[in-house]
Symmetry: C2
Subunit: 344 residues, 2 copies
């Protein structure tokens, strides 16, 4: 027994069904449904009513093939679970909302191979544009994107050559700035705690900038600790304990993201360690979560919302302009010292 009601909608509906039900040509129905071209008010209503009664849902596959237009924007990001990309998505959606464009996300889990295949899949749907996180891609992926003939925006990072357009911050500079602030505050025995993912290029660039700035002041990392997987908050705690046990005279902990930084902060507070007096702490991203912690962790916001917005604007704009040249937009994150860096 099927669960369908009285009449049988076995075959999926097409324009023809609506056209027959309303006594006009398929073309007229198409026009009504897309609000394009002139249709008399009378027929418009007749058609809409017929469509509604039948429960007709247009077939975008056919429409897209015929019109050579697809109102989709591919968004390729490494992960959904770290609070940073959802916010980028929010920015993108906000802007795309009233452009008729729709974002479609693909997740790569920081794997270049997976990214390549996600990009391939997406391009095979012939989207109107692509937004891809990062500047590092396989050669094949880069080639596909370059040849696609649609606007491409690489986001988050601008430390490197872009395929077309790019919107992001300089992670290298961000790392440097943080190091400078830490040194200025008088810390000298500085440790780094971060992810082990070889493909988190942005974390890597921050660390590089950070170390360069240390070197400029004649310093080098006193210790470093890496992790992968698991609860970032817990890992932050554990790593912090490991570093402070191994190296009790370390006076600053620089975390590659806020989540492990928060874990570290909670650990220090629980141990009664004087923060920021004896040990200073800093993370990266400016995630909302920090607002709820007992003490404000120093961080640097990554302009995530703004990056999403700008990227979407480029896609939406280019579609109308037909502009060819790529533009690179650099955003500047602000250092939020919070309460975990000594003032002075």
């Amino acid at each position: 027994m099927t669960k369908s009601p009285g009449f049988d909608p076995r075959r999926t509906l097409t324009l023809r069904d609506v056209s027959e039900a309303s006594g006009v040509s398929e073309m007229t129905v198409s026009r009504v449904l897309r609000n394009r071209g002139d249709v008399s008010e009378a027929t418009r209503e007749r058609v809409l009513e017929a469509a509604r009664n039948l429960g007709y849902v247009p077939n975008k596959i056919a429409g897209a093939l015929a019109s050579q237009r697809v109102n989709l924007v591919g968004v390729v990001i490494p992960s959904l679970s770290n609070m940073v990309f959802p916010e980028v998505m929010t920015g993108i959606s906000e802007v795309l909302e009233d452009t008729g464009l729709q974002p479609v996300v693909g997740v790569t889990n920081y794997s270049p191979e997976r990214e390549e295949s996600v990009i391939y899949e997406m391009l095979s749907w012939r989207p109107s544009g692509m937004i891809v996180a990062g500047l590092e891609h396989t050669d094949a992926a880069r080639a596909m994107l370059a040849q696609a003939g649609i606007p491409i925006v690489e986001i988050m990072d601008i430390d490197g050559p872009a395929i077309d357009s790019a919107v992001g911050i300089s992670h290298h500079r961000a790392g440097r700035q943080m190091a400078e602030a830490i040194i200025a505050a008088g810390y000298r025995r500085i440790a780094f705690l971060g992810t082990m993912m070889p493909h988190d290029h942005r974390a890597r660039k921050r660390l590089k900038g950070f170390e360069e700035a240390l070197a400029k002041s004649g310093l080098h990392l006193a210790d470093r600790e890496f992790y992968s997987g698991g609860s970032a908050l817990l890992k932050g705690r554990e790593m912090t304990e490991a570093v402070l046990t191994r190296n009790p005279d370390v006076d600053f902990l620089y975390y590659s993201n806020d989540m492990i930084g928060a874990g570290g902060l909670l650990y220090c507070l629980a141990q009664g360690i004087d923060v920021p007096g004896k040990v200073g702490l800093a993370g990266f991203n400016g995630v909302e979560l920090l607002d709820g912690l007992p003490r404000r962790l120093a961080t640097m916001d990554a302009c995530r919302l703004e990056i999403g917005r700008r990227a979407a604007e480029i896609i939406a704009g280019k579609r109308t302009d037909g502009v060819v040249g790529g533009e690179v937009i650099e955003l500047f994150p602000t250092l939020q010292p919070g309460d975990t860096i000594r003032q002075g």
Copy 2:
């Protein structure tokens, strides 16, 4: 000046281009690219080489239209930013990975109207199946889904009638169980702290079950506090302070999610309140984040990963089976007492 290399890829490539480049018919190229039907090893290689050289990316729009098959599964969820749905997505992706099916997410922000339009958009791409969070939808949305002629799986919740299949837990029961555990532990003056979103039906059902269980023991909520927006961790803190100030003799705080529960826990610890002696706490979801907290918050996991997996399995299975009837799978969350409920 265009940024294209030597030859000009102005027109996007089609099967014909590959067919001409390799000297076989379009059909043969199509067969090679899809690994379907017999093609001699010699031609297969010739075709693949030509395709690779040209940088050909198949047009799935055309393919889908011709074959009447779309390897997409629509996933409609209320939000990406609360850590619960990303995990569901993980489960879905895991299972879909090797079925040739691909998930496409749509986000509704807990708005029924937005959900309706997201569903409409998705159905217009004629996906192979749909996974939709929750059982509550507009009449129109429900009708569209029912008529679509594809497997529909409603997830997260099973307290109500499903359109087709459903995978989830009983939030009503979950609320009840938590109340029973709390009462059994000897708490009597119990407050609820949660979201204000009228469309978070699952939180609502948990509260309902919770109150019913209280009533059965002759109890009723001593206080309640609602919020919306902002950092959940911070809100949890603030709400907890508000409740405990207004009502100093409250001895248990039941939170509608782990994030505000975590905020509350941090607040209580900072205030030196005896947890779970003077005040007990419990949240809901079993998010990973809790692992990193100074004390383990009592919670109930919502089986998110498992829900995603099962839902995807139903979609993947039905496609091959052609089974019609809908199945309802109830999962049973386990109560994790943590350290914030007195041990009786």
